[in-house]
């Protein structure tokens, strides 16, 4: 009992001590709202391990942080995100993909057999992250699906290059964007259907796929099977699930899901790849495109206890839009000093990059562990939230307070 009291006293002092050196904003960083926490729980969808249920309908479930213990996120642990009520299960034999639009020379239809047989298969590992991942941590909170850290995953995707399929249709010179419609549909006729577009130059990028396999298995229903679009480096809003129609169009796609949805204030998150056909001089926002540099500590939790003099291993992963993670720094003193973590093997520039860092806490008390990734462009994570009304692009450096006794 005496030991415990001594411990509490010391840890209290350590917290005060940390407060002297850390910006107060960081110490008051918001977690999930109380209503979010109360309504969320671990529940298993068909074919899935228990995930954190955020909403039953549309079906929105996120991956618990401690499931991210390897570079690939297994299919049964992969987050689930849909926008609309109706998510039909489509048998592969019944699935057809229509390629057309006013800027296609030769519209045609594809079966799965043809997609696999007529176009070279490509495999790549890429992070699929919801634009609103970590929205629930926004301070102040903003309306939407209140995601924590797990609206993302890293998988090996196999499919045909979109550009090969578009080439067969013949794209006219006046094409500006390629639009994508999935089988997901609204409950009401008047609800805007979830349709998205990519600028033509991005749609014909070598890495953009019509994927039909995920981690060596047929693409699961809940993750967009029979086939979905994969846009490595860009947020998952462009990774249309259950793709059934692709159109080449001469005018920028309009509609709720292009504007005002999925947008950030112009200039707030400078990126190498902008979607300029969706920009207007008199509109203050631009479509979200590339993921920002980010990292996640996966093996320790706030409040976890460790013993003084015993090594602590901190593990996690880092990712960006495909420029390549080249540095992860870890602080164990609330951000005063930083040391380089050891980067694990590179699985490709669009993949999670695992890292780890060992340290031996000698002093009892609270130690605030932080991790900060940087990429080859020199971009890094932010210490303070860059607030935007939809809660996008949250890459605030985590602060995990561990207790050493």
């Amino acid at each position: 009992m005496k030991n415990r009291r001594t411990f509490l006293k010391h840890s209290g002092l350590a917290v005060v001590g940390a407060g002297l050196f850390a910006p107060t904003k960081l110490l008051s960083a918001a977690g999930l709202a109380s209503g979010t926490l109360a309504a969320s729980g671990l529940e298993a969808l068909p074919g899935k391990k228990p995930l954190i249920k955020r909403s039953y309908r549309p079906v929105n479930y996120e991956t618990p942080v401690d499931y991210f213990d390897d570079v690939i996120t297994p299919n049964d642990r992969f987050f689930v995100r849909w926008h609309l009520t109706n998510v039909p299960e489509i048998a592969v034999a019944d699935w057809k993909l229509k390629i057309g639009g006013e800027s296609a020379e030769r519209p045609f239809e594809l079966t799965m057999e043809q997609l696999k047989k007529d176009f070279p298969a490509v495999e790549l590992i890429a992070v699929c992250q919801c634009s609103g991942n970590r929205r629930g941590l926004s301070d102040p909170h903003v309306a939407g699906v209140e995601w924590g850290y797990g609206a993302m995953g890293n998988a090996r995707w196999k499919g045909a290059r979109l550009k090969d399929v578009l080439a067969k249709a013949g794209i006219k010179p006046d094409a500006v964007e390629i639009t994508f419609d999935g089988a997901e549909g609204p409950a009401l006729d008047k609800t805007p259907d979830f349709v998205k577009s990519l600028p033509l130059w991005k749609a014909v990028d070598d890495n953009v796929l019509i994927a039909y396999e995920m981690n060596g298995e047929p693409l699961p229903h809940l993750n967009g099977g029979p086939a979905r679009i994969v846009v490595p480096g860009w947020t998952a809003t462009y990774w249309m699930k259950k793709i059934v129609a692709i159109n080449a169009v001469a005018k920028p796609l309009q509609g709720f899901w292009m504007n005002p949805a999925y947008r950030v204030p112009k200039g707030m998150f400078p990126t190498g790849e902008r979607f300029t056909s969706q920009e207007k001089d008199n509109v203050a926002t631009t479509p979200i495109t590339e993921m920002v540099v980010n990292s996640l500590i996966t093996n320790i939790k706030d409040g976890q206890r460790f013993s003084a003099g015993v090594p602590v291993v901190v593990k996690g992963m880092a990712w960006d839009a495909g420029y390549g993670i080249n540095l992860v720094e870890v602080s164990t003193d609330g951000g005063r000093t930083w040391q380089d973590a050891v980067l694990d093997r590179d699985h490709g520039r669009f993949s999670f990059r695992l890292w780890q860092f060992s340290f031996q806490p000698s002093q009892p008390g609270t130690h605030v562990v932080m991790a900060k990734a940087s990429n080859r462009q020199g971009a890094t994570q932010t210490l303070e939230l860059i607030f935007n009304p939809a809660g996008y692009q949250n890459n605030v450096v985590q602060r995990i307070a561990i207790q050493v006794a």
Partner: protein
């Protein structure tokens, strides 16, 4: 994809049967306006969308949200029900 094909309706039922069972367990707080919420909002989403978005929206933000559901998402909510829903959400799931 907008479709009223039988296959898609069957798909919806098959897909959602498990989710719906749990969805029925959601209990919103008792209070005036709860009936209007239950009658209108479940057409398009489960009621946990309300719970997870609480308590941090001000009355004006709940009002904007309900208006978005009407004007953007096309929910056929009457003016009368809108007033009841906004009052209920801001009182039981809001912050002022």
């Amino acid at each position: 994809m907008r479709t009223l094909a039988i296959s898609s309706i069957l798909g919806l039922v098959a897909f959602s049967s498990l989710a719906f069972a749990s969805e029925d367990q959601i209990e919103l707080k008792q209070g005036p306006g709860r009936e209007a919420v239950m009658a209108n909002c479940v057409m398009c989403h489960s009621l946990d969308m309300i719970q997870i978005n609480s308590p941090f929206l001000k009355r004006g933000q709940w009002e904007a949200t309900v208006n978005k559901m009407r004007k953007v998402m096309g929910a056929p909510i009457s003016d009368d029900d809108t007033a009841k829903i906004v009052a209920y959400l801001s009182k039981y799931y809001g912050i002022d």
